[in-house]
């Protein structure tokens, strides 16, 4: 085989295996402080296991050590926008989301958990109390009446 026929073939092989064909690695925003709670390699590989283990300890046994607490992760890794407000960690390009998009792994932590430290969300909702009539005390021959207007207010 002549060299002139080999060149396009080699070029094709190179194009297929070269890194340029894959997606760019995500660039993670830096967290606070000098180091994470474990070496980066370990955190990348095992953070989901750390969180899973910690969640059961916290919910069932009331163990609230900060090291693998999701709240602490968010506190350290949350970024601020140009006005100084927090950006949710599950927003595009943010610490959690950028890697999970790259790895195509869906996380459902933030359906329930706060995506920002508490100070940012403190004023977001007005509290409302909804008063229901009820019959749980009926067995005690009580008639239950709703608390009059003014006792509770609706948010909407």
């Amino acid at each position: 085989m002549g060299l002139d026929r080999l060149v396009p073939f080699v070029a094709l092989i190179l194009a297929l295996v070269s890194p340029a064909a894959s997606a760019d690695l995500p660039e993670l925003p830096r967290g606070k402080g000098d180091a994470c709670v474990a070496p980066t390699d370990e955190m990348r590989r095992d953070h989901m296991d750390f969180l899973l283990h910690q969640r059961d300890l916290t919910v069932h046994d009331g163990i609230r050590t900060p090291r693998f607490s999701l709240v602490e992760c968010v506190d350290c890794h949350v970024q601020r926008n140009s006005e100084g407000g927090f950006i949710p960690v599950d927003a595009p390009e943010q610490f959690c989301e950028i890697c999970h998009t790259y790895a195509s792994v869906k996380m459902d932590c933030f359906g329930c958990h706060a995506t920002m430290p508490d100070s940012a969300s403190a004023d977001a909702n007005t509290a409302a109390s909804v008063v229901h009539t009820d019959d749980v005390l009926g067995v005690m021959s009580y008639r239950v009446t709703p608390v009059p207007e003014g006792g509770g207010t609706d948010a909407d």
């Binding site: 300890l57 919910v59 706060a114 509290a127 909804v130 005690m140 709703p146």
Partner: protein
């Protein structure tokens, strides 16, 4: 005071030493009660224990019909807010006004999860998500809740709510989300840090001072003492659930 709840390495823990020293100082100033409370403060790495059983005593004579302090405090603490749909909006604590049909006597009380010793919500849960912590607090593990709502139907106190809509701006210490059941946690995030539930705090500062929080098992504590010295009752005592929330003057 039981000694086995104190971890052996506590003596080496400087934070705990400071805590005990502070407690001793407060005890010198304000009597023996402070040292008992503070010395039992749980370390973050310490699991809850069945030596403690948290509970509430609510004096309906001090609870007035117009007062909503406990409900507002709960809603603020956990960021509970309605969608203008009263039948399905979340509600962890609610005020009830009662009229005795025979005498016409009126009273008012807050109704919330009664933190039963034998909770029907735990009995019926198919996934084990509804559970009772060792210290008596009944909770939903939302990681395993599938939203079937058997517990909502089983609870005789109608204390549980279901989250129907996607939420945002949850508090970091109180995760809540669509598709799961929720109810009063007795402010477990506060209790684990040796603080009082938000409703009790609000009742004492803004309300009638009707609520007392404490350890039912601590014989020298304020709650067990109040229950021993005065008559109290459980709502639906006939169900024999041994509730952690007790009422006076009901």
């Amino acid at each position: 005071m039981p000694t086995d709840r104190k971890r052996t390495d506590d003596a080496l823990n400087p934070d705990r030493r400071r805590l005990l020293a502070g407690a001793a100082g407060m005890a010198a100033m304000g009597g023996g009660f402070s040292i008992i409370r503070l010395a039992l403060a749980k370390n973050d790495d310490e699991a809850v224990s069945s030596l403690t059983r948290w509970g509430l005593l609510i004096d309906t004579a001090k609870c007035s019909s117009g007062c909503n302090a406990c409900v507002s405090a709960c809603n603020d603490e956990h960021n509970l807010h309605g969608f203008g749909r009263p039948l399905t909006d979340p509600q962890w604590i609610r005020k009830l006004d009662l009229v005795d049909e025979h005498t016409g006597h009126e009273s008012s009380l807050p109704m919330l999860c009664q933190h039963c010793e034998h909770p029907p919500c735990v009995d019926v849960c198919p996934t084990g998500a509804s559970f009772r912590r060792d210290d008596g607090i009944v909770l939903v593990d939302k990681h395993t809740c599938i939203g079937c709502r058997y517990c909502v139907m089983a609870c005789p106190y109608k204390a549980r709510s279901f989250v129907h809509e996607a939420l945002s701006n949850q508090k970091s210490y109180s995760p809540r989300g669509k598709g799961t059941v929720e109810s009063c946690t007795l402010c477990v995030h506060r209790v684990d840090r040796d603080r009082t539930p938000a409703c009790v705090e609000a009742c004492q500062s803004d309300g009638g001072g009707a609520m007392v929080f404490g350890d039912l098992n601590d014989e020298s504590g304020v709650l067990a003492g109040a229950l021993r010295d005065h008559p109290s009752s459980q709502v639906r005592r006939d169900l024999d659930l041994n509730t952690g929330v007790r009422y006076r003057n009901l």
